[in-house]
Assembly symmetry: C2
Homo-oligomer: 212 residues x 2
């Protein structure tokens, strides 16, 4: 059972979201630029999307995943914690279809939406991963973002596989992925592949010899 | 006549040098990791170096260049300005072999070393580029770094061609390239190529339609 990150998109300067985040602008001034590459693939749009490298990477997002852990700011815009009716961005059939653990300092009762159940908790990364691993029933756990949560789990040495997608834009501000990750390369093999679409795929695979 | 940057090496998190810079550690804790890719090419080591993509990019550094502009911290370690005998890092035949303009708040008399003459000046990027362009005798001007000077010239809209080399390490601290460059992609076409060596070449070419 592994802990994996997929399709996490960053700007050249390492931002996983622009600012300010709001209901109207979930990614702040980044708009859809961080994810346009994914929306252009078959994974997102089976009819008009492209096959090829971006699609192959994008499609790794779901298979073998039994639970996701996400941050409070992925689940909703600032202020969602004060709205008892907020059910996430994803409508009545969220694409997760597994238990999802939402890290937040404003925990509430579990929420079932379609085939997904959201659990809200205040916990260390280690505790959250233990609960998610239990819930995953023998499958892998995905760390779903945003940058703050990715950074915390990677810094804690809990992540086996990290797929980042570097988009050739300079955002200048937002939530930063790299802070606190000095020396990351010591624990991972890194493979970098430039896609014909203009984005670059970076895959970090934990070195077999390193235990943490 | 164009203004160009070549072989400017950065970590995944955008640092062009580690810290602290000193006589013993010109690149701080980065050591030689930012430039190992270049030292492995024929451009650096004609006998044992590799040919191929990294060498092809590296070799673009000199042809057609008539002058370089560099920052005070590329010319010497902290404190060199107080040492009247400091002649740069490069021994008695520096590899530039053109006029080199060293931006510093501690100007001194020009210094000829081998086929290179160093000129020391306090000036705006625009003024420095005007002087270097004059001295380049119809050839191009290279902005030689470090990150502070690259950033200032790019932010001022003075650079036509930017070749960056992203090395798969996370430095965590040092001098940062991306600060202040938000929206850079609006003015440049970007081409990204991953090298079999593990580094990634990013080439920014100024869009023909953009004048600044
Ligand atoms: N680039 C991508 O591929 C990608 C992927 C997913 C999401 N996103 C975007 O990224 C942005 C969100 O990222 P972000 O970095 O701002 O925030 P985030 O990682 O989604 O959430 C961080 C927040 O989660 C809560 N939290 C985190 N760890 C916790 C813990 N151990 N215990 C309790 N609460 C904890 C805290 O919120 P509270 O204290 O307020 O509860 C914290 O401020 C959104 O714009 C989202 O759309 C981007
Ligand atoms: N990654 C690469 O490919 C690469 C390439 C070249 C160099 N480097 C490394 O980068 C590091 C140096 O980079 P850095 O960003 O710290 O410094 P830098 O860009 O070399 O120099 C910055 C300094 O130059 C002076 N300066 C800059 N603009 C000026 C202006 N308009 N007028 C007057 N003075 C001006 C100021 O120094 P004062 O006020 O002190 O005079 C300023 O602090 C070194 O470690 C070097 O070895 C890396």
């Amino acid at each position: 059972m592994a802990t994996r990150i997929h399709n996490f998109s960053i700007s050249l300067d390492g931002f996983g979201s622009g600012e300010p985040q709001s209901f109207e602008t979930p990614f702040g001034h980044a708009g859809q630029r961080l994810h346009a590459w994914m929306m252009a693939t078959r994974m997102w749009d089976p009819v008009h999307g492209s096959a090829g490298m971006d699609d192959a990477f994008a499609q790794q997002h779901d298979p073998g995943i039994g639970a996701e852990i996400m941050g409070a700011h992925k689940f909703g815009p600032p202020g969602w914690q004060d709205d008892p009716d907020w059910r996430g961005w994803w409508g009545e059939e969220p694409p997760f279809r597994t238990p999802v653990f939402v890290l937040t300092h404003h925990a509430r009762e579990p929420l079932a939406v379609g085939a997904t159940t959201f659990h809200f908790l205040t916990a260390t990364p280690q505790e959250a991963l233990r609960l998610a691993t239990e819930a995953a029933g023998g499958q892998d756990v995905r760390i779903g973002g945003g940058a703050t949560v990715v950074r915390d789990f990677v810094a804690a040495g809990l992540v086996d596989h990290i797929h980042l997608v570097q988009v050739p834009i300079v955002l200048g501000r937002g939530t930063q992925l790299w802070d606190g990750l000095e020396g990351l390369e010591a624990s991972y093999d890194v493979e970098v592949t430039a896609s014909p679409s203009g984005v670059t795929h970076l895959v970090f695979s934990r070195k077999p010899s390193v235990t943490s």
